[in-house]
Subunit: 333 residues, 4 copies
């Protein structure tokens, strides 16, 4: 296994070297000189921690940072190097992965007074796996380019379980020539690494998918609830939808009605899964992107509002399929 | 083939007889005594005509009626008996299928001064394949019951092509003991006959599916449009959605973006398929059912409004996937 | 006062007689022969009771009916005649006012087996003050016409307080020649009687006003909430809106934010006023009318959904301005 | 008149001086030493040009700049000084007013490489009358503070006509001590200058008002259209609404239905007034502010989508009351 891995890495390394030579591009020279050089990782939250651990498992020395010192302890005990600031990470590693909650954190980690860009080395590869506004990704890519570094956006789909199992999906945007270099690292953490196009398109793909997911989930919840009130058995209705044109992932794989399917959050009081508050955040990003590009998204916009209202009604931490429960409640006069 | 059919019919007949004896129910005795007795068919439009023709092909003498005499000509030339009114049909046939545009037509054909119920025979089986308000179906079932007849709702999914090919899907609501009798006739016209529950649930299943279909189609159109404006290639975006949680029938089987798939209306200037005006009608039924049952359907309701607006903007006769085109148009200042 | 009233009534009577002679219309002859003949009143709920009492105060003998016998007791004690059924009322009075909760009640009271139309006298004037679907009003008018009677719709605006004080507003639809006859009675219960046009337009005016009211109330609530979260003082924001183009009745007369105005439900924990459940009902009627006339009402439709959701979240009995509270709740993670 | 004006200016000057002395605040010392010192003005578009002209009329020497040299010609001919960049303006004037189309323009004019903040003098007063995201205003205020300058937001209501007539309304956010200094200049261009609170609240008030305006305008259009289709005369319906709880500025002052009122855009094919594209922009700002503050604005959000769609359907340049026309179009099958 280790041998096979070594081989694969070598092939990637050779492939990479050849490309670099062929293109006579000096930009990314240093960081690829040796495989298994240190990789920086900033953001050790629920997702970041298992992701960084998977890098360690694949033999990469990791130089880590998080604003909360406690978050770093576990890593230090593993012998991982922990630094005081994003700038320090940038000084010590020329490949850095960031996994942060939202726009302001990402902007601060990159452009703040102790940010990555303050000490980034020429030719560094910066991969942001946070889910943020694609317009911010584009801005950061411009700033990175000024410093001679390459910025790519690579948000993930899949939750904490997939992060632990190392089978996340990465949607990657950025300069195509750098995709292989990014993929080398991302495949340590995910089973599926998709190149989406220029910088920002990874984010675009992520928020597009989640917007459609939110719409079809709410749609499924409304439909199942209406059907039940009209006298249909929920299992039968799901079966009919799933063999018809109403079929969607939310109806056939993640049905929001308790009792229709097993092994999904609706069968477990909507615990686990993908939280309503996270869905509301992604819909906010979709909304902002749509506003900026003057794109009409009437249903996406209403889905955003519904998840926003739910967050204030006690559903923030429940799985987003709990919209069925939210809509289901009946009037008690 | 004919022998096999005879056998199947006999088996059905035997099965039916046994059930009738066992339950000592006299209600539906006469009409099932002999197979291949006349079947009434009211409503010879784009859908009704090929449906009735399929009954003829299966050996059933058809007694037809339509308010427009021209609609009946084709049938008369085939030797089919045409009558002047629904009441006349009811006098001559104890199994009647109706296929009409909307609530008022159905109400009139059943309860009007020359309606079916004026002359319906005791024990008759009345099957309505129109798509109407399930509350109307329930009312008609009550009225039929007063006359000693059985009313079932059996709306279809599948368009004119499926009607011709005899592979419609029927969603059937009504007394369960009568389902086999209904199925005997419906299998001549459809490949899939699903029992949904008490009267009205066939309609409920139909409008539920179409509501979810409308929501996910508009959602897909919004999402594809947003992705394209954010720099994603439409084929790539469709591929990403279809392997992710945004996947739905509208994205993977009937994609609304021209060029993404072949053999769908979006590839043919949105001609053919399921017209926007028909979708708007079904969403109106869903809306009325939701209002009557006090069920919140925020996305279904907004989908209804969007298709309603589209009808007035030149999209009435285009396939309902043309919502992509509707949302796609850009501002020209 | 009594003399003045007598005079006014006489003038009305004379005016009425002259009109009847001039037009040689026999339809409404009997009931107008003498003023102060009995008036029927069906529906003695929160609104109907004070309305009927105002008729009594104005000297009209009232013949009352309600499905709940207890509702009639108070009247019987006042010496008012109470009958067993709407049909009985119709036998004893040729002017009848109905004030009922919703479509099915009205349909039953008029067309049921003991309904008004079973024993209505030729030339009777039937005034329905319930708030119902205008299409139902039109149907009832047709049925009444078959019996030689006149049906008018006259829904009210103003709540229980206005009903007691006798200053309701009536919006009246029906044959214009009958408006004066209706007005004679309605002015006993309301200070404002507006003729709206053909039958059904009274209902139309009522549900149109309430739809716009619901939209601007929710809009005001959203706006005030957004402004507060952006740092504005609510009183100042209300002042700015009220001198600007955002001004509406909901912002300047019935502001939904506690503390901005006095003497409105928002200052009293949203008690009293116009209940959310009643608003949801009226929006349902608006939605059905819009669906039937193929009229796009995107905001009206969404307002309906919001009030529907609120009904199931504990707001059913609160004043409809409590939508501010509903939207205001903040996320607690 | 001139004397009276001089007096008023002197009083303001005295008042201002006294305040400055009393508070011992040195920040704004230099610019207030003499009244009628030069005022910078950046952004000479349809609104900015007449605004700057009104400053000139009031005796203020204006130092102007616009990215388009042609826009400055008219001013140069009047003897006004025109400079090459915002930085140059800041070098020559310590009171500057900016009037620009949108966020990026404002950010660039203040923080760009030739921006105001590059050469702003300590104690300068910077007033931005553009309509932008209040979060951007807050950021700029922080940046200005770092340079020892004061930034206030002061967006306007009222269009080109009001700009010419000098009776705009200014909604002002920023440090309260500076309000009088801002008011001195703003009263030259507007008849109403309202202090809203800390920096950003001027923008907040503006976008709140316009969001409610958009909602009630679309609501009025839907309602009038529904009423007309239900048989009501539009003038009568408007009259009923305006004496009832549906009343709003859009129904009683700016009715969107042609023929109901005179002197409004609906009577002139929706020419003039406030363009749909501008309303869509303001709703986008409201949407972004709501997203950032996690405030649910379901109707505001849908109003945004409707105006966005209208922009792509030929309504971009029409007055925003043309939403009536947009919704009114009927289906032609």
């Amino acid at each position: 296994m280790a041998a096979a891995l070594m081989l694969r890495v070598s092939v990637i390394w050779l492939h990479r070297q050849r490309r670099v030579w062929a293109e006579s591009v000096a930009v990314v020279s240093s960081r690829a000189m040796a495989s298994k050089t240190a990789v920086g990782f900033i953001g050790l939250g629920n997702m970041g921690t298992p992701m960084a651990q998977n890098l360690v498992k694949h033999g990469y020395p990791v130089i880590a940072h998080d604003v909360f010192p406690e978050a770093c302890k576990e890593f230090q005990e593993l012998g991982t190097q922990v630094t005081d600031s994003p700038a320090d990470v940038a000084e010590k590693a020329d490949r850095i992965i960031t996994m942060l909650p939202s726009n302001p954190n990402v902007i601060d980690v990159y452009t703040g007074s102790n940010g990555i860009l303050k000490k980034v080395k020429k030719g560094s590869l910066l991969i942001d796996s946070s889910t943020i506004d694609p317009a911010v990704s584009k801005e950061l890519a411009k700033e990175a380019e000024k410093m001679g570094a390459v910025f790519m956006d690579a948000p993930v789909s899949g939750g904490v379980g997939a992060a632990r199992a190392g089978n996340l999906t990465f949607m990657v945007g950025g300069v195509e020539q750098e995709f292989d270099a990014a993929k080398e690292l991302l495949t340590c953490m995910g089973s599926n690494v998709v190149y989406c196009g220029e910088v920002g398109t990874g984010q675009a793909a992520k928020i597009c998918n989640n917007m459609l997911l939110a719409i079809s989930m709410i749609g499924t919840a409304e439909t199942m609830n209406l059907g039940i009130r009209l006298g249909l058995d929920p299992k039968l209705l799901a079966k009919i939808l799933n063999m018809s044109s109403g079929r969607c992932w939310s109806s056939d794989t993640y049905n929001p009605v308790p009792g229709v399917m097993e092994g999904v959050p609706s069968g477990n009081n909507y615990q686990g899964g993908f939280g309503t508050t996270l869905m509301a955040k992604d819909l906010g990003l979709a909304q902002i992107s749509a506003t900026n590009t003057k794109t009409p998204v009437p249903l996406g916009s209403l889905a955003h509002q519904i998840y926003r209202i739910m967050c204030a009604k006690g559903y923030a931490q429940k799985d987003f399929s709990s919209v069925f429960q939210f809509l289901r409640e009946e009037e008690n006069l």
